[in-house]
């Protein structure tokens, strides 16, 4: 009831604001704040190169939208919701920032979107994994652009079960993210006729995975799934490589793995791993052309997060151009009404819960023989259609969808 009331008042307020703010770009400047981990664990997947992607988008747009200047500010989130929330508060209260981009750690994204809702600004989350960002934590003021845990679990698990990997061993990082990933995978495996023979939880973080990998080998399961992230995943993969897990006939499935992780591991250690990704640089001419420019600017190939930051910024600026306004709800509505077709997504679409749904891809890490150079890492095994990949709205707990 109270949420209903809140929604109603915010709807009325936003209609009034839209009416008042139409055809106007505040201060004749569009200011974008880029907030990401610039120095910690998540540096490589977004970090300073994400800022470079954002700047590329602004430059490609000509640095101006409808005569208004586009400004970019950036800050390190230190992976801390405290730091992020004080930065974003200052941005929107004192520095007239219109949109916050980047947003990697889930705790940061949730904290920031709460503030943006309160202040009536827009956030585009590109780096976070948690599917709760557009589920129980959804707000009318943010968009989750690139991927989330639902398609990661869903895409990888259902594909592997269908290929005949019936019995599963799940190695889970022992905290909320790992637990939810484990639950998602278990559900998908069982729905597709597979069976989870054992789940094992490891403390977060774990530097030495030997005993866990030995148990995984001993379990005799067809598939060993890693429901963890970051350094835990790469450590586990390295150990699995040393123990010859894939060579002995088991399939290794990583649920959250970025191009930069695979690059750091090298194809020797990572070969054969199946994973789901939202984008890969070597898919077609368009992605290759953009990635070449990115490589020239930064020295590395882009991850799906980098590409998503570029794409979402272009979409955002286009929406401002079309509506002649930088008011959050006007822009968000325009973005929802416009299908996304660019180098990042084909027929992408932003739903009312803020989830951008687009085709995802099941990829397999190439073998050393197949890989031609250091960034030639994936082969795309299958395209997972958008409607199959993401959590359907019928299962949503987002108040914007359920209406209460």
């Amino acid at each position: 009831m109270t949420i209903m009331k809140k929604l109603l008042t915010s709807a009325i307020a936003s209609t009034l604001m839209v009416a008042g703010a139409q055809a106007e770009i505040s201060n004749n400047t569009v200011k974008i704040g880029y907030l990401a981990d610039m120095s910690g664990t998540y540096r490589d997947l977004a970090g300073p190169n994400g800022l470079a992607a954002l700047e590329m988008a602004v430059a490609d747009f000509g640095g101006k939208v409808k005569g208004a200047k586009i400004e970019v500010v950036s800050s390190d989130d230190r992976n801390s919701p405290d730091v992020s929330s004080s930065t974003v508060r200052r941005w929107v209260e004192n520095e007239d920032v219109d949109m916050v981009a980047g947003l990697v750690a889930s705790s940061v994204s949730i904290a920031v979107s709460d503030i943006l809702e309160e202040k009536g600004k827009l956030g585009i989350v590109s780096g976070s994994a948690a599917s709760s960002i557009t589920n129980e934590h959804c707000t009318p003021n943010h968009i989750h652009y690139v991927y989330d845990t639902y398609p990661l679990a869903n895409g990888t698990a259902s594909a592997i079960v269908k290929e005949g990997g019936k019995s599963w061993f799940i190695l889970t990082a022992d905290y909320a993210f790992g637990h939810s990933l484990e639950a998602d995978v278990t559900k998908v495996v069982e729905e597709n006729g597979g069976k989870v023979v054992q789940t094992l939880r490891h403390p977060f973080p774990t530097p030495d995975f030997s005993s866990f990998i030995l148990q995984a080998q001993g379990s005799g399961a067809d598939v060993v799934a890693l429901a963890n992230a970051g350094a835990d995943t790469t450590n586990a993969i390295n150990t699995a490589g040393e123990f010859g897990l894939t060579q002995s006939g088991q399939t290794l499935a990583a649920l959250l793995l970025f191009l930069t992780d695979v690059h750091a591991l090298g194809v020797d250690a990572a070969q054969g791993i199946q994973l789901t990704t939202g984008w890969y640089w070597d898919m077609n001419d368009e992605t290759r052309a953009w990635s070449d420019r990115f490589l020239e600017k930064t020295g590395v190939r882009p991850t799906m997060v980098h590409a998503g930051i570029y794409s979402s910024t272009i979409q955002y600026l286009k929406a401002i151009e079309a509506t002649d306004s930088d008011e959050a709800q006007t822009v968000r509505k325009q973005m929802m009404d416009t299908p996304i077709n660019d180098m990042f997504a084909t027929n992408g679409r932003i739903r009312e819960d803020g989830r951008m749904v687009h085709d995802m891809y099941l990829a397999q890490v190439k073998t050393p023989a197949e890989s031609k150079d250091e960034w030639d890492l994936y082969k795309i095994v299958r395209t997972i259609p958008a409607e199959e990949a993401f959590r359907p709205l019928s299962e949503s707990k987002c108040p914007l969808v359920t209406g209460n």
Binding site: D76, D77, D82, S86, R90, E93, I110, D114
Partner: protein
């Protein structure tokens, strides 16, 4: 011929000197107070509130390290338990007034502090530090695993609410003056504790524990009380921080935070009242400045270098060095 100086004269001049010094101190405090009251006109209030919360945290920590000589490596546990308790209560029971939520958070940290102290004060030095660290890691594990904390996502959307039912804290200025009042309360309390006979015994324990025992003091009881008070004040800082940021996160519970408060205290000057405040302001500001610029990657390295430099070259910290300088050149 000069007249012989009588004992009474010496006493008189000493008293006068003391009074003059006291007046100087009062004047300094007054200037600081005026600066703090006027600060939000120049600086961003949320940033100032963050400094004040960490300053209170460091002041609480300094009560142990600076005045009792106990190095706790687990103070993050108290900050976090205050933060989570307040955050959980305020977001679950919307009818609860903000000050009750903060009091509950402080109480929770105090109780936890008592539990820590009972175990930890039996040992000294490195063993004491390691026991507090181990206990704090247990508390961290509890917060990671618990449902109500939201795991690594944290606890979000804590309402700031109304103070005493009528002051709207969603206004940043109102919130700032409330935080300032809480900070000053905590600061004055520590000042009072340190200046009291109780505080004298704490300082005696720091200087020579064996002698304090031989003088007939129940040293363990004094340590226990100091620990519990320090924990309670740290919890208060955490509670207020939650209300300011409207969230409680795992960052508060990480051992990193326990380390940061040591850095703040050492940098500002242990054993001085103002030191931890200056240290907290310095560290928070440095982190903020570095996160804006191209040196973002280097925050931890730079903090580490400053820490090493302080420990090697300026053992008594910023405030300690300034005091020494004043005494040498102006006294």
């Amino acid at each position: 011929m000069s007249e012989p100086i009588s004992h009474a004269d010496i006493q008189k001049t000493m008293l006068q000197q003391q009074k003059a010094e006291q007046r100087k101190k009062q004047l300094l405090n007054l200037v600081l107070l005026v600066l703090l009251l006027a600060a939000p006109a120049v600086l961003y209030p949320v940033f100032l509130m963050k400094i004040l919360c960490f300053a209170l945290f460091a002041v609480a920590f300094n009560l142990l390290l600076g005045f009792t000589g106990l190095l706790s490596f687990g103070h993050a546990a108290f900050l976090a338990s205050g933060a989570y308790t307040t955050g959980y209560l305020l977001s679950t029971y919307p009818g609860l007034s903000t000050e009750m939520g903060i009091l509950a958070g402080t109480a929770a940290a105090t109780v936890l502090g008592f539990c820590f102290a009972v175990v930890a004060i039996r040992r000294q030095g490195i063993y004491f530090a390691m026991i507090t660290l181990a206990l704090a890691q247990l508390v961290f594990f509890f917060f990671v695993q618990s449902e109500f904390t939201g795991g690594e996502d944290g606890l979000h959307g804590v309402p700031r609410g109304y103070l005493f039912g009528f002051i709207d804290l969603s206004n940043n200025l109102a919130m700032y003056y409330f935080v300032l009042a809480v900070f000053l309360g905590g600061y004055l309390l520590v000042q009072r504790i340190v200046g009291s006979p109780f505080g004298q015994v704490l300082k005696a324990i720091k200087q020579n524990e064996a002698r304090t025992v031989s003088l007939g003091y129940n040293v363990n009881l004094y340590k226990l009380l100091a620990f519990v008070m320090s924990a309670g004040l740290a919890g208060l800082a955490g509670s207020v921080k939650t209300v300011v940021f409207q969230l409680a996160s795992l960052g508060d519970a990480q051992w990193h935070t326990s380390g940061e408060v040591i850095l703040m205290t050492l940098l500002g000057g242990t054993g001085t009242l103002l030191g931890p405040v200056i240290g907290a302001a310095f560290v928070v500001n440095l982190e903020y400045q570095l996160s804006q610029g191209p040196l973002g990657d280097w925050v931890d390295a730079i903090l580490g270098a400053i820490f090493i430099l302080t420990v090697i070259a300026f053992r008594s910290g910023i405030v300690g060095e300034v005091q020494k300088f004043m005494r040498k050149n102006l006294g």
